[in-house]
């Protein structure tokens, strides 16, 4: 019915601003939005029922932002969140900044006080475009209803274009109420920047460097996932026989089971990966930005390597690491042009050298340690991987469990891991998983969260229940703000200031929300609990009470040389069959 009503609106007729808002969203392909109503956005909510858009009521606007973000990361489509003025909008900001740092295409709609009251400190007025200016790709305050359709059209175009990101449209209440002739701009007047075609000269130089290299290494990041470039990345790696290391946000961009896959680099990357970076004579950086969590000390990062940087965003090229070949381009387009220019080669000696380091890492792996039956987070993650066949869509929070997930849950496919990398936002996982599940209803979605971060947004359990979503939650509960505790252990002489953490009985909490919940305190209970949760059609929560003072190994101390890692002491390998 709503669809039929909508079809009658062919443009050129009079509509209210509120109707124009939803009509524009429908035309952009939006069928689900996440939000929380309030005074300044009431006219929009009043009109919502007349449009084929499902509104998901969150319990806090930060949740709405993360839900929209998770929806976008899991699907590649634009996620949309809606909030009212003042506190509604300011509550969004953590989520907006999260989407900004990780380049997630999102559109935020906020109500604003009537235009006549702007600047008067009216009830629930804040300067939302001012507050969000540095954490959005673009924003606009709409004070005139005739501008609204164009502003929304541009918002979606800008959010998607070039390096994607959040765009906020702040709409005055009187604009939502005012009526005008609806005109849908077919082509947005402004759509943001996009990358040029790859430069042939730079492509040729890159190909020459690759041909001449004896110890080449690919560092692949989020850009591979964004661009859908996994296949062409695999083609490059295989043709030129080049190992591939991934950033946290790049995980899944290259299949973990591939013989050329090294896994994650950087602060909690494996030691042999970081050593390979330091030993390489050529770094081919693809869709990554040399974040400090990746490079460690810049002066000593990949000193022996020439560097090729393929990157969409011109302001990332040369920002942290000087490069020899800069290819500003869409990474997929660049690789499609580059692969034919690159000769087939083998780098047997180089790959063998890296493989030797892998043996040493394996010997130090917690899972290889003598089996004492105690429950470590690593066991939980590895069992999740085993039970789900590596096919789950995992959404993590931020902290130790996030790094353990990255280490012990190998990802084969792009967009099978959703995690807050750049901003490192605790409280991200549960709401982002709601969005991921709504974007990919057929996926088996697992939240992996710590006891600290989970409590920041656990109110969204109600959203989960209200939407009847099957999201499975693993709380890795060690009774500490674990990553901070680890830094205190390593760098602050074990002064555990403000990190011991009292939590509710999470299983009972889940039950209070009408969700199945259980507690696992030992290795022996782990497998059955995970199997039961997988079989639960309404999801639920498992509270894993893991070892309290385990650290994430290895670790590059902040700002140190990435070759210089704190490692787990090596122990004698476990007996055959003793590991999980």
């Amino acid at each position: 019915m709503a669809e039929a009503a909508r079809r009658r609106r062919t443009g050129g007729e009079t509509m209210s601003g509120a109707e124009i808002l939803w009509e524009c969203l429908v035309r952009e392909g939006v069928d689900t939005v996440f939000g929380y109503p309030g005074g300044a956005i009431l006219p929009a909510y009043d009109a919502l029922g007349r449009f084929p858009i499902h509104h998901v009521l969150v319990r806090h606007e930060q949740g709405a932002a993360h839900v929209a973000d998770g929806y976008a990361r899991a699907s590649g489509r634009v996620g949309v969140a809606v909030a009212t003025s003042g506190p509604g909008a300011t509550n969004l900001t953590t989520g907006i900044a999260t989407a900004m740092l990780d380049s997630v295409p999102t559109v935020f709609i906020t109500g604003q006080v009537p235009s006549k009251l702007l600047g008067t400190d009216a009830f629930q007025e804040t300067d939302v475009t001012g507050i969000t200016l540095p954490i959005t790709k673009h924003n606009e305050l709409v004070t005139d209803v005739t501008r609204l359709a164009a502003a929304l059209r541009e918002a979606f175009a800008i959010a998607r274009s070039g390096r994607p990101g959040p765009v906020l449209v702040d709409i005055c209440k009187d604009v939502q109420q005012a009526r005008t002739t609806f005109e849908w701009p077919e082509d947005p007047a402004r759509s943001g920047w996009s990358a040029p075609a790859p430069d042939p000269g730079q492509l040729a130089r890159a190909a020459d460097m690759i041909a001449a290299s004896e110890r080449p290494l690919i560092l692949a990041g989020h850009g591979i996932v964004r661009a859908g470039a996994s296949h062409i990345l695999t083609a490059l790696a295989e043709k030129a026989d080049i190992p591939v290391a991934l950033t946290l946000l790049g995980l899944g961009g290259f299949p973990a089971s591939h013989s050329l896959s090294l896994g994650m680099m950087g602060m909690h990357g494996e030691a042999y990966v970081n050593r390979a970076i330091q030993r390489a004579d050529l770094i081919i950086a693809l869709g990554m930005r040399f974040d400090d969590r990746v490079t460690g000390k810049l002066e000593t990062f990949a000193r022996h390597a020439r560097k090729i940087h393929v990157e969409l965003d011109p302001s990332e090229i040369g920002k942290n690491v000087p490069v020899d070949v800069a290819l500003q381009a869409d990474v997929r387009e660049a690789l499609e042009a580059l692969v034919p220019l690159v000769p087939s080669r083998h780098h047997r000696a180089w790959l063998e050298e890296i493989a030797e380091g892998r043996e040493d890492t394996r010997a130090r792996d917690l899972l290889q340690q003598p089996d004492d039956g105690r429950l470590y987070a690593a066991h939980v993650i590895r069992e999740l991987w085993r039970a789900t066949g590596g096919n789950a869509l995992v959404v993590t929070d931020v902290g130790q469990h996030q790094m353990w997930e990255a280490q012990y849950y190998p990802h084969e496919r792009p967009r099978s891991l959703v995690t807050s990398g750049g901003l490192g936002t605790m409280g991200f996982a549960l709401p982002a998983a709601i969005g991921a599940k709504m974007a990919c209803p057929d996926a088996e979605v697992w939240v992996v969260a710590g006891d600290g971060g989970f409590q920041m947004t656990q109110c969204e359990l109600a959203t989960l229940r209200q939407e009847n979503l099957d999201v499975k939650i693993a709380v890795v509960n060690n009774g500490f703000l674990g990553m901070v505790r680890q830094w205190q252990e390593f760098f602050y002489e074990k002064r555990y200031s403000a990190t011991p953490l009292l939590s509710p009985d999470f299983a009972a909490l889940a039950a209070a929300y009408g969700l199945p919940g259980c507690t696992v305190t030992s290795r022996s209970g782990m497998e059955a609990a995970i199997a039961a949760m997988r079989a639960s059609p309404q999801g639920g929560l498992i509270d894993f009470r893991v070892e309290r003072e385990e650290a994430v190994y290895p670790m590059v101390p902040s700002g140190a040389d990435i070759g210089d890692m704190i490692r787990r002491p090596a122990q004698a390998p476990a007996e055959e069959g003793a590991t999980a």
């Binding site: 001012g130 673009h138 070039g162 011109p314």
Partner: protein
């Protein structure tokens, strides 16, 4: 070194704020920034002078170029340009000194724009170096107030930071 950037920007509320916010956030140092109408309706042109290394200047331009309201950015530092600054200088000047002051500033193609009972306002345009020299020359007479626009620049010849048409 000093880099001069020319930017074509859409003439919309908040554009200057966006540019200034970018400089603040990225910790780029602005020496001067001027903005005014351009030859096209709805488009302003900014001249921005930054003290930066070559790499930082490139990053400034790249970051500016990402702003939706910025249509084009050109670093004209190494191009032949006409670069000018406008200064108004209030100088203490007794009635009988007006003649000598007038003659002095004429050498800089400057002029006396306003005459008060014991001061005059000198209006001068020129390169920053020219204006600095003029100020130094006037200083012994008593410089009471200076206001300067900062640099505006235009590329010489036919190829500017202009629209296609």
């Amino acid at each position: 070194m000093k880099h001069t950037l020319l930017a074509r920007v859409q003439d919309q509320p908040g554009v200057l704020n966006r540019v200034a916010s970018l400089f603040r956030r990225r910790a780029f140092n602005i020496d001067s920034l001027t903005v005014g109408a351009s030859e096209s309706k709805g488009i302003s042109r900014m001249t921005i002078v930054v003290d930066a290394t070559r790499t930082s200047a490139r990053l400034v331009a790249a970051n500016l170029g990402k702003l939706v309201a910025v249509e084009e950015v050109t670093d004209v530092t190494h191009l032949p340009t006409i670069a000018r600054d406008l200064a108004l200088i209030r100088v203490r000047c007794a009635q009988e000194e007006r003649g000598p002051v007038h003659d002095l500033v004429a050498g800089f193609r400057a002029r006396v724009a306003d005459v008060g009972s014991d001061s005059v306002i000198v209006e001068a345009t020129g390169t920053e170096e020219d204006l600095n020299a003029l100020v130094e020359l006037l200083r012994p007479r008593g410089v009471l107030e200076i206001v300067r626009t900062g640099r505006v620049a235009m590329v010489r010849g036919n190829n500017g930071n202009g629209s296609e048409s």
